[in-house]
Symmetry: C2
Subunit: 202 residues, 2 copies
């Protein structure tokens, strides 16, 4: 006689993400999750392969959400404006869900990693906006510079690494501005923004 399912992958992932955010990754144990969904730990293995698999599924969930938010912000005005909006949205996600954010950028065993394809849309949006700013030749390098700065800033912030006081919000705004200013001076041509970087099709 089959017993009725007492839980599901969806419920397990949802509970897991809640525990991750409330109590941290090291409290995300199989026993804790089992307790949250109302079964015993061994039963979870009928729904997820192991703890790493559960962490991967939670990461996927978070990646989809971050991707959606960045994508949306990308549609905001001209390139500098859109870049600013994407940076702020990125930071807002990290503030709203710091543990999920850390999970996405952590070095994890291959099996545990969220599917990078779930961020593909967001990556395309960043590349597109940056490409219009710096030209096709430097798109990848500029995107890496921008994302590195954004991630570095947010992760240091979350780690409590800004210990010299001062206005952290202002430092973030300053950073976007200086990066955009740097990008606008980029390429072989040193011209003013009015010159516009070339952006041939494809």
């Amino acid at each position: 006689l089959p017993t009725p399912r007492r839980t599901s992958v969806e419920q397990i992932v949802l509970a897991g993400r809640g525990i991750l955010e409330e109590e941290g990754l090291e409290s995300l144990t199989m026993q804790r999750v089992a307790q949250a969904v109302g079964v015993r730990a061994p039963s979870l293995y009928k729904h997820v392969r192991d703890r790493g698999d559960l962490i991967r599924l939670i990461g996927n969930d978070a990646a989809r959400e971050l991707g959606r938010r960045i994508d949306q912000a990308a549609g905001t005005g001209d390139p500098p404006e859109a870049l600013r909006a994407m940076a702020y949205e990125f930071r807002a996600f990290a503030h709203a869900d710091p543990q999920a954010y850390r999970l996405l950028f952590a070095r994890l065993p291959e099996d545990w990693r969220a599917d990078p394809a779930l961020l593909a849309g967001a990556i395309e949006a960043v590349m597109d906006v940056i490409g219009r700013l710096v030209g096709r030749e430097h798109t990848l390098e500029a995107a890496r510079t921008f994302v590195a700065w954004a991630h570095g800033f947010v992760s240091m912030e979350l780690a409590g690494a800004f210990r010299l006081g001062g206005d952290v919000d202002a430092a973030f705004a300053y950073g976007v501005d200086r990066l955009i200013a740097g990008f606008e001076r980029t390429g072989s041509a040193v011209g003013s923004p009015a010159d516009g970087p070339r952006n041939e099709a494809a």
Copy 2:
């Protein structure tokens, strides 16, 4: 009758840092360290408070080394040149000792964290060089922008997050250049580098 010391804090920290680098933080167990220094796990508690304390001491060791390297690089020519040298030294440390690097920037329980004062010299050097580039008013914001970019770049690199191919070394070089270009356009005056940012004493 006293038994002769069979190990020491220094030996434990040294062995611990070796295990950290070779096998990763989660393999840095008390049993593994004890084995490496030739005692049983409970004996370690005569020399360090607990595992967190050992991790803190290993972090201190790494922080001292990173501080020394950045400090040295700071003496390299004019501000843009020195900034470049510090960025490359920072990255070189992370490449040489990726696990120790991650440990330094990880969000850890307060008790586990390396003493931030051990990086004080490096921080001063960065602030000094950046201050000469952007002026006193924006020193802190610019330093945060620079360090955020460097840390973000290196940590994404170490996490294997640059998945679109391309030349990662070139992207790093591009990043320094764009940041310096952005800094040189900073402040209320938009003037050319020749104008020079103001840098009043203190």
